[in-house]
């Protein structure tokens, strides 16, 4: 198992919004005793006669402005975990810090204050007050904060517009569809204007289309509001889509914390690996995570003879052309280079192929499929300054989406093999050697 404490401590650069420090939650007659046994190394099964260990030794830090997803199947303890982050459940052992407050060590009144000012929550089954109108539901948090009626209704109205419920303010929740009810739930949490938002399976009760829509809207809202969101889900695709980082839980323990790509490409154990095998890899993996090192690189100043030589050495049919400052220009094909050399020309730019595609490193693979279909050439991955970081041949793309290794054959089939014979290249190079040396 991955030691979760260590994995996150290198994230000190950003401010920490929520911190869980070795928290345990046990249910039973003597929870403290259960925790003591767990700390002594007993397993969850061994203490089952005494009670249930819902959360075992969970530690993590959530940075400000981050969407931190806790993912696990039902019974993995994720709902208990999130309820310890706002004190709905007391941690049996360990501490939870929200902002600067250790909420495991405050009075009930202070805890209520933390909930009013710092942490709000969205519930799986919406948990709206059925006897209040939409706007009164949205204003509920503000009402408890003690805001005057007019002020809170005005504020609630702006939030209602923000979550896309304009015109529904005076309806009762029962008159709304599930998706709209959850917008009310989200609006209620947003209106409270807390830094931290806890979302407990917030979209799980919605049907798939609405769920997708809500996920996208959450991302949009998050881009505008930059809350710290802790999102609980059992849906891996949802976790991968929303999460800046994901904590995978199993049997009460956090087994891995990492970015979606880290979880996918470097699963901490077989459980996580098995879990992620069904995920839509094309949406999670990015160009940067699958790209291959570039081999045949030539510069515009190097000339066609150098290009031909490099392509011969690598036995490849294409070379990537860079400017002198390292920025990516395009691709040349061996046949064209050969022609250029035979014709005694020196300007590689003349034969640059126009259909070479370049993408950013954070492009998801799903967006690479179309260019890959349209052009046989490898896709170039370039950074902001158009520096060539790597290339993605078709085979690599297919292998990444299908989760198979590109290293299976005797030869790595990475780029189209040379289309002209070795001897042809050698002859041409020899024939033109004199002219070339004059350059």
């Amino acid at each position: 198992m991955v030691c979760t404490g260590e994995r996150v401590t290198n994230s000190n650069t950003a401010a920490i919004a929520v911190k869980a420090n070795h928290i345990y939650k046990a249910f039973g007659r003597r929870p403290q005793e259960i925790v003591k046994m767990l700390k002594a190394g007993k397993s969850r099964a061994e203490i089952s006669s005494l009670g249930v260990a819902a959360v075992i030794d969970a530690s993590f830090e959530v940075k400000k402005g981050e969407i931190f997803v806790v993912m696990g199947l039902s019974g993995s303890g994720k709902s208990t975990l999130i309820r310890m982050l706002n004190g709905l459940w007391d941690a049996t052992s360990g501490t939870v810090t929200v902002g600067d407050t250790d909420i495991t060590d405050v009075s009930a009144a202070d805890l209520r204050e933390v909930r009013r000012k710092s942490v709000s929550m969205v519930f799986q089954h919406f948990a709206l007050l059925p006897h209040r109108t939409v706007i009164d539901n949205v204003a509920y948090g503000l009402e408890i904060q003690g805001m005057g009626k007019e002020e809170r209704l005005a504020k609630a109205q702006t939030v209602i517009d923000l979550v896309g419920l304009a015109g529904w303010a005076d309806n009762m929740p029962s008159e709304l569809s599930g998706g709209m009810q959850q917008r009310v739930g989200l609006g209620r949490a947003l209106a409270a204007d807390t830094d931290v938002l806890l979302m407990d399976e917030a979209f799980s009760a919605l049907d798939p289309l609405i769920r997708r829509e809500m996920q996208e809207q959450l991302i949009e809202l998050q881009a505008a509001l930059s809350k710290t969101i802790i999102f609980i889900t059992h849906d891996l695709n949802e976790a991968m889509f929303l999460g800046d980082r994901i904590a995978v839980m199993r049997d009460g323990r956090i087994v891995q914390i990492g970015t979606p790509e880290e979880i996918l490409t470097d699963p901490a154990n077989d459980y996580v690996a098995q879990f992620v095998q069904d995920v839509d890899r094309a949406r999670v993996l990015t160009a940067a995570s699958v790209m291959e090192p570039v081999r045949a690189v030539v510069t515009t100043t190097g000339g066609p003879r150098a290009a031909l030589r490099i392509m011969r050495d690598f036995q490849t049919s294409v070379a990537f052309v860079l400017h002198r400052d390292g920025s990516f220009v395009g691709v040349v094909r061996d046949r064209d280079v050969l022609g250029l050399v035979k014709a005694g020309e020196t300007d590689l730019l003349k034969i640059i192929l126009g259909d070479a595609v370049s993408v950013r490193p954070d492009t998801p693979l799903v967006d690479l499929v179309e260019p890959s279909v349209e052009s046989a050439l490898s896709i170039a991955v370039v950074d902001d300054k158009r520096r060539l970081l790597g290339v993605i041949p078709r085979v690599t793309l297919l292998a990444a989406i299908g989760n198979v290794s590109t290293q299976t054959g005797s030869l790595p089939v990475i780029e189209p093999r040379s289309t002209i014979s070795m001897s042809d290249i050698a002859d041409t190079l020899r024939d033109t050697a004199l002219e070339g040396s004059e350059l």
């Binding site: 309820r83 706002n86 709905l88 209520r112 204050e113 933390v114 909930r115 009013r116 000012k117 942490v119 709000s120 929550m121 519930f123 799986q124 089954h125 919406f126 948990a127 709206l128 007050l129 059925p130 006897h131 509920y140 948090g141 408890i144 904060q145 517009d161 923000l162 979550v163 896309g164 304009a166 015109g167 303010a169 005076d170 309806n171 209620r188 409270a192 806890l198 809207q217 949009e220 881009a223 505008a224």
Partner: protein, 311 residues
């Protein structure tokens, strides 16, 4: 072996004696209060001419359930008047009102307490079982000793007999409020009192009102029995007819009880029902939809953004 007997009865007798001797003053005060409450309500119901009461009850029936029920109520009341049981019926009504108001005032808070504390719930439940299953007549004996003959022992026995469903259904109603909604209240920092007032009680209202309805119906059945200890009203008429074997009087008084029972049951049953068909409910609905139309009109003036604001 035949001579041996558990002295439970003697013990109970001794206990009641002790209570009477020790707390006599307290019971005198309680008696005075209850008597005054009954006299007050009874005066309001009996003093005005019968048609005033009929009109008031008819309007109440119209407001709560609609015109059909109002007509039914008036027919029933005329029937009671016709068999010359008007005053005794009003006495009974007053007794029911006083006893059930007191029973509700005790049982609802007890139910709330039981819902909030598992220990309280465990302690209260067997007491309720005892109170509900002990034959109703038995309460009359100590009540007689404590309060003497009259209306007060009837009220006290009625309260004890009738309050159990009030406690039970209040507890049930509050406990069965959606946990997530209560959690939502907690998660936004509401205090326990506020959660009780704004979430638990409103959502438990239908169940609590079912309890109130039960309390009132049990009160009515007990009020008849309390005629045995001298409480005035239809109960006394029924006991009189029993002792005289007067079938006619028994039927008339019994029918009057049935009419009052139906009236009270239908009235209180629709109190917990928010989608009430009565005039009060209609007025409520009209008021709400009017507000909505106002809001819609306001919105029409200000062109609402077609899409959620995207920043």
């Amino acid at each position: 072996m035949n001579d041996f007997r558990l002295p439970l009865g003697t013990g109970a007798e001794a206990f009641v004696d002790w209570v009477v001797n020790t707390f006599g003053l307290v019971f005198d005060i309680i008696k005075a209060i209850f008597q005054a409450a009954f006299d007050g309500v009874d005066f309001v119901l009996v003093a005005p001419p019968f048609w005033v009461i009929m009109i008031v009850l008819g309007i109440l029936a119209l407001g709560v359930r609609g015109w059909k029920f109002a007509v039914g109520t008036l027919v029933g009341l005329v029937l009671i008047l016709g068999v010359d049981q008007w005053e005794t019926a009003m006495d009974t009504l007053a007794l029911v009102v006083v006893a059930s108001v007191l029973a509700i005032a005790i049982s609802v808070p007890l139910g709330i307490f039981a819902a909030r504390s598992a220990l309280a719930s465990r302690l209260i439940r067997p007491v309720l079982d005892f109170m509900q299953t002990m034959p109703a007549f038995v309460y009359l004996i100590p009540a007689l000793l404590l309060f003497g003959i009259g209306v007060v022992p009837g009220i006290v026995a009625t309260i004890i007999f009738a309050m159990a469903p009030g406690v039970r259904l209040t507890e049930l109603g509050i406990r069965s409020v959606d946990k997530e909604v209560v959690e939502a209240g907690q998660a936004f920092g509401a205090s326990p009192m506020r959660i009780l007032r704004q979430i638990q009680l409103p959502l438990a209202t239908p169940t609590i009102m079912a309890g109130v309805n039960q309390v009132i119906m049990l009160s009515l059945s007990m009020v008849v029995i309390s005629g045995m200890v001298g409480a005035p009203g239809l109960g006394q008429q029924i006991i009189l007819s029993l002792s005289r074997i007067d079938v006619g009087l028994g039927f008339e008084a019994g029918l009057s009880v049935v009419i009052i029972a139906i009236f009270l049951d239908r009235m209180t049953a629709s109190l917990g029902d928010t989608q009430s068909t009565g005039m009060f409910g209609s007025i409520r609905l009209v008021l709400r939809s009017g507000k909505k139309q106002d809001a819609a009109r306001d919105e029409a003036k200000v062109p609402a953004p077609a899409e959620p604001a995207r920043v």
